[in-house]
């Protein structure tokens, strides 16, 4: 066998093991918990990265926070409790879905209010 072909086969085997070990890192008793894990890790921002969730990051802190989310899901914590655990330590910055309070209210309802105001002005001008 050509040395390059042999290297390719070894590399493929190594890659398969790497992918398998990655997917087996967190084992969930049921699908609902696994779905919650993927949703939560996509909604928590990696505190070490410029942008990106902990799900999309391989930074050591992102790996640690994924482990924390996993442990807390297994412990029966709710999504809110897990999010609070993260934001208590890393601030609102770490939550991609900002809470409905303080300045964040403007972010949530601002676009709707502007739409209503301009809709009203637009139709009044048309008359």
């Amino acid at each position: 066998m050509h040395p390059i072909s042999r290297s390719f086969i070894y590399f493929s085997i190594f890659l398969s093991f790497a992918i398998f070990s990655q997917s087996q890192e967190f084992i969930f008793p049921n699908q609902e918990q696994e779905d919650r894990f993927y949703l939560l890790t996509n909604e928590i921002r990696c505190p070490k990265c410029t942008s990106g969730s902990i799900a999309s990051s391989n930074a050591p802190i992102a790996e640690d926070l994924k482990r924390k989310v996993y442990e807390q899901i297994i412990d029966g914590k709710t999504d809110l409790e897990i999010k609070n655990f993260i934001t208590d330590r890393y601030g609102e910055f770490a939550d991609y879905r900002p809470s409905f309070e303080s300045w964040n209210i403007l972010l949530w309802i601002g676009p709707g209010i502007f739409m209503l105001i301009f809709g009203f002005l637009f139709f009044r001008e048309q008359k």
Partner: protein, 164 residues
């Protein structure tokens, strides 16, 4: 007034409100721990003794998160060594092998009052740590100030000196 003028003025207004908020809200987006009590914990030191959050009650100390694999920790080590004569410095040995940490201290000097071994990084997460090095000023069990990255003269004067 024309609708386009109202629209332009409103959008400019919104832009400046958010710009002002962005400039005034000068907080580090990686830790929410300043002003809070030191998190509860019960762990072992590198010497094998038990230590808990109660250690900090009635004390003034710098808590420094470090590791033998951390290059910046080696860079800030001489500066911390100088400060150790003024204030007690407690280490949190972060995600490190115990023997590597002990060898590192033997080689580079050990000015730490004690070193909490945090091999998994659980205590560090409770402190809102994102990596090593990071330093905290703790006064009577309360976290007063926090520095991310290398602790040097400038950061010391800005973040820690006003409280000492």
């Amino acid at each position: 007034m024309q609708l386009s003028k109202i629209l332009a003025i409103t959008l400019l207004g919104v832009f400046f409100i958010f710009l002002g908020k962005l400039i005034l809200d000068d907080k580090t987006p990686s830790s929410n721990i300043t002003g809070k009590p030191f998190p509860q914990f019960q762990q072992l030191t590198l010497d094998g003794n038990s230590i808990s959050h109660e250690y900090f009650i009635g004390k003034k100390a710098i808590v420094n998160v470090w590791a033998s694999w951390c290059i910046t920790c080696l860079v800030e080590h001489p500066f911390l060594s100088e400060r150790a004569s003024e204030i007690s410095i407690i280490g949190i040995n972060y995600k490190d092998d115990k023997s590597d940490a002990v060898n590192w201290l033997n080689k580079n000097g050990n000015f730490f009052s004690t070193n909490i071994h945090d091999p998994i990084g659980n205590l560090a997460i409770d402190l809102g740590v994102t990596g090593a090095p990071e330093s905290f000023l703790v006064i009577d069990g309360k976290i007063v100030s926090h520095v991310i990255g290398e602790l040097n003269q400038k950061k010391w004067e800005e973040n820690f000196a006003p409280y000492l």
